[in-house]
């Protein structure tokens, strides 16, 4: 009896440790995604081309973490049969890394578009786009903090933040779409349209992360 409870106890601590390890990897991946987003921002608004080159390397590393975390989660779920919050945590983390990976992908896309945009003079609505990008970064940071703190309430708060980004997207879309007498080629406007779309998607993924954190803690999906 004692022997059995001891082994199960050591299994539990083993599981705890493994879960913690996975959590740590997710946070690491989060820092990389955040950095990637920041670099794409610099590339787009400060025209820092070096930053753009670094994003590609970061993206490779993010991908590696993504695959490894997914595998680790699956292994832990099958071999250690976790219950309750541990199970919710692992299954939510599996989804969450996909959100993170998507944000990283979008950051890379934005960088590529920024490199094309360098050849054109800055558009008049660049300030608004910059504010939108900063706001999306703030949302990502908020969702990562929520993940670190396992804060159930954060999900709702981030959703409110997301509304602001959606409004900004609508506003900028109208501004770009209803522009008349465009001088020269339309590429910069096209690129800006795609960029704000990407930013809006990134904010959505950040919102998802917040919601998944709420699910981990409360077990309720919204």
């Amino acid at each position: 009896m004692t022997l059995f409870s001891q082994t199960s106890n050591s299994e539990r601590t083993q599981l705890k440790r493994s879960v913690k390890q996975v959590q740590q990897d997710v946070l690491r991946m989060g820092t990389l995604v955040e950095q990637s987003f920041r670099l794409s921002h610099q590339c787009l608004f400060v025209r820092d081309i070096q930053a753009g080159e670094n994003v590609i390397y970061l993206e490779k590393r993010i991908d590696r973490y993504y695959r490894q975390i997914e595998l680790d989660c699956a292994t832990l779920m099958t071999l250690q049969s976790p219950v309750a919050q541990d199970l919710r945590l692992l299954s939510a983390l599996m989804q969450l890394v996909r959100d993170l990976e998507r944000i990283g992908d979008y950051a890379q896309d934005i960088t590529e578009m920024a490199l094309k945009l360098v050849h054109y003079p800055p558009h008049s609505c660049m300030d608004r786009v910059e504010a939108m990008s900063e706001y999306a970064q703030l949302m990502l940071a908020t969702s990562l903090v929520a993940l670190a703190d396992l804060d159930a309430k954060a999900g709702e708060n981030i959703k409110k933040l997301d509304d602001t980004v959606d409004d900004a997207y609508e506003y900028l879309y109208d501004l770009l779409a209803h522009q008349r007498d465009v001088p020269g080629v339309v590429e910069p406007i096209l690129l800006l349209g795609l960029i704000i779309r990407h930013l809006e998607r990134m904010a959505d993924h950040a919102t998802n992360i917040g919601q998944r954190v709420s699910y981990i803690v409360t077990g309720r999906r919204k």
């Binding site: 913690k20 946070l27 820092t31 903090v145 703190d149």
Partner: protein, 448 residues
């Protein structure tokens, strides 16, 4: 009869008692001896008293140690540099006030044990700690820590879109971390704020380039005036003006090089105009310009390797690179010396993939330039690419030879880096001369 039995019993009992007491005393003495570092003289005192004294002493020492530990802890807590203590599972055990300010650790509470990554989202810091633990050696690293503001749950009114623009979302602070492995696979990290230094050096560079810009115009007119004067003067005045003209030109060069360097540094990629260039041809043409000096010194150039290698690069800038490098090599070669330039393309070599560097398979060109001089002084090697740095002894030029500006290698490095390449300086193990190795990507869009 009963009396005799009683006495025998009593004697045996007493004997056992005495024997036990004796043994107990002996053990006690041994124990005292083992904990006490005093001489044997006082051991004749009653053991219980000795024990009491030892316990008191140990207690006093313990309190002393606690006091000392508290003092150290308080000192470190208020130290002007940051300190973090991380356990083997990367959990933050303790950090001081400065670390809290530098890393914006406002969510950490005293005595709380949490994953460091939950509190500080810095990949670099995490990597530094992991490396220290793995290698069990102290490490040093400089990086820029970015802190992105987040909306805290307590805030009732969220940052709105408009006031968002006014307050900065992302803050940057340049840090230098020194990490040390501790027993139990713990790691201690000292953090130094480099931000003031970074800002200071930036403002210094700006000042110097502003100053250079201001110096340019008067210098040009001075040299014009001097040139005009030359035709109207006889010796000895003519010689003085010649000297003046030479020095003025030197100053003009210095100013121009500095401005060029600043421009390259500020926006490296914008300044470059890319075209396809044959490396061998460039080196050849550079050598032709240097030929007169080389002939005087009877120095020969040997080129080995693949002559067909060509890369995408800025022609005039690369000419300057090889001019500076070969000119240096020429200056430091002895009479009848030899300069060896070897070209090698490295198209399919896999760079060793380290943990923080993604393996690169980008094709690159490696150009080695080795002179037959005495080489660098080893203490100079880390500084040779610094602006205005001059080697201490052997590579220091004689007063008559002071023609360089001290910016040559700095410019070389700046140009190479703008091309996405890399340059390193060392001494050749066999030939003994200075060895400069330039690595350039064949396609500059894929930097090494």
């Amino acid at each position: 009869m009963a009396g005799v039995e009683f006495i025998i019993g009593l004697t045996v009992g007493l004997g056992v008692c005495v024997w036990q007491h004796y043994h107990w005393k002996k053990r006690l003495k041994k124990l005292i001896k083992s904990v006490s570092n005093q001489d044997d003289r006082s051991i004749s005192m009653p053991p219980l008293y000795l024990l009491r004294r030892e316990v008191d002493k140990l207690d006093w020492e313990r309190r002393q140690a606690v006091q000392e530990r508290d003092n150290w802890q308080r000192l470190i807590d208020r130290a002007p540099i940051g300190y973090l203590l991380v356990d083997e599972e990367n959990q933050l055990l303790w950090c001081n006030q400065q670390a809290r300010t530098l890393l914006k650790l406002d969510r950490w509470r005293w005595g709380e044990v949490r994953l460091l990554l939950e509190l500080v989202r810095s990949y670099e810091l995490d990597l530094l700690i992991e490396r220290t633990r793995k290698s069990q050696q102290s490490q040093e690293k400089e990086w820029v820590f970015y802190f992105t503001r987040h909306a805290s749950a307590q805030d009732e009114d969220f940052p709105s879109f408009d006031n968002q623009v006014s307050s900065k979302t992302v803050q940057a602070i340049a840090l230098c971390g020194h990490s040390f492995p501790l027993p139990g696979r713990q790691v201690g990290v000292f953090l130094i704020n480099r931000q003031p230094i970074v800002e200071l050096s930036r403002s210094r560079d700006r000042t110097v380039s502003d100053l250079s810009h201001e110096l340019k115009t008067p210098l040009t007119s001075i040299s014009l005036v001097a040139e005009n004067l030359l035709d109207r003067l006889q010796n000895p005045e003519r010689r003085w003006v010649e000297q003046m003209l030479k020095e003025t030109n030197r100053l003009t060069n210095l100013v121009q090089e500095w401005l060029e360097l600043t421009r390259l540094e500020a926006d490296p990629t914008k300044v470059l105009k890319y075209e396809s260039i044959n490396v061998h041809e460039i080196i050849d043409s550079v050598w032709q310009t240097l030929e007169p000096i080389a002939k005087k010194k009877q120095v020969t150039l040997t080129q080995i390797g693949d002559y067909s290698i060509s890369i995408d690069g800025d022609k005039s800038r690369l000419i300057q690179v090889f001019l500076n490098l070969l000119d240096n090599a020429l200056k430091h070669s002895p009479v009848e010396g030899e300069i060896v330039v070897s070209l090698d393309s490295d198209c399919c070599k896999l760079e060793e993939s380290r943990e923080d560097e993604v393996s690169s398979i980008e094709p690159q060109v490696i150009i080695d330039i080795v002179d037959s001089g005495t080489g660098f002084v080893s203490s100079d090697i880390p500084h040779v690419f610094e602006r205005l740095y001059r080697g201490e002894r052997s590579r220091n030029r004689k007063a008559s030879d002071l023609s360089g500006s001290g910016l040559g290698l700095a410019i070389v490095q700046e140009i190479i880096q703008a091309h996405g390449g890399f340059i390193e300086a060392k001494n050749h193990p066999d030939l003994g001369g200075a060895w400069l190795r330039v690595k350039l990507p064949c396609d500059p869009k894929n930097p090494i």
